[in-house]
């Protein structure tokens, strides 16, 4: 049952992050919302790879070499999320450097002051 709880938690974090990105006016708050949604997505993917009562996919004293297939969780979601976290950091850094440059031009963090593209 563990992975059902974490799946619900991940979906809740994803929805909170998307809600923050849609409603907040402050540019930094929007990036914080993106970061929360990112964490939620990672928790969802790792939950989908969990198997009941299994342990980490590292062969050591807890996992026998011959019977490893029946004792470990799915390694593929772990590998995907590992790279996704690093990419998330890089994307956040690019977004924040854009915010710093925008602030230098307009001296404002409110998204209402950037209306060039508003319909």
């Amino acid at each position: 049952m563990i992975s059902l709880y974490t799946l619900i938690l991940g979906i809740a974090l994803l929805l909170i992050g998307i809600y923050a990105m849609l409603t907040r006016k402050n540019l930094m708050k929007i990036v914080i919302g993106f970061s929360i949604a990112d964490t939620g997505t990672h928790i969802i993917i790792v939950s989908l790879g969990y198997l009941r009562g299994k342990t980490a996919p590292v062969i050591d004293a807890a996992v026998s070499v011959s019977n490893a297939v029946r004792e470990v969780v799915d390694p593929v979601p772990s590998a995907l999320v590992l790279t996704a976290i690093v990419i998330g950091l890089a994307v956040t850094a690019v977004m924040l450097s854009f915010i710093v440059e925008m602030y230098k031009k307009n001296k404002s963090l409110s998204i209402d002051d950037y209306q060039e593209l508003k319909w």
Binding site: M1, I2, S3, Y5, T6, I8, L9, A12, L13, I16, G17, Y19, A20, R24, N26, M28, K29, V31, I32, G33, S35, I36, T39, H42, I43, V46, S47, G49, Y50, K54, T55, A56, P57, V58, V72, V73, P77, S78, V81, L82, I85, V86, G88, L89, T92, A93, L96, S97, I99, V100, Y103, K107, L109
Partner: protein
């Protein structure tokens, strides 16, 4: 026992997420978002992914918070009133 831990962590994480959204102070929001990542690494450990837990603890709550703080510092400079 483990489901109780997960439910407790989940309640704290969702509360921290709402706090990060609604706090007036940007500094408090950034630190709270870092707390969410730190607790998420415990969740990954429970789900049997120690590799992901290490990455999330060092990147999500370490470097991301630092980069946010650097950006906040550069934005704040010039108007020290808020």
């Amino acid at each position: 026992m483990i489901p109780i831990i997960i439910i407790g962590l989940g309640i704290i994480m969702i509360a921290a997420a709402f706090a990060a959204i609604y706090f007036k102070s940007l500094l408090a929001s950034i630190i709270t978002a870092g707390v969410i990542s730190l607790l998420a690494s415990v969740i990954y450990l429970i789900l049997g992914s120690p590799d992901v837990a290490m990455t999330e603890a060092s990147i999500g709550s370490g470097l991301t918070t630092v980069i946010f703080l650097f950006a906040l510092h550069r934005v704040r400079k010039g108007n020290s009133d808020d």
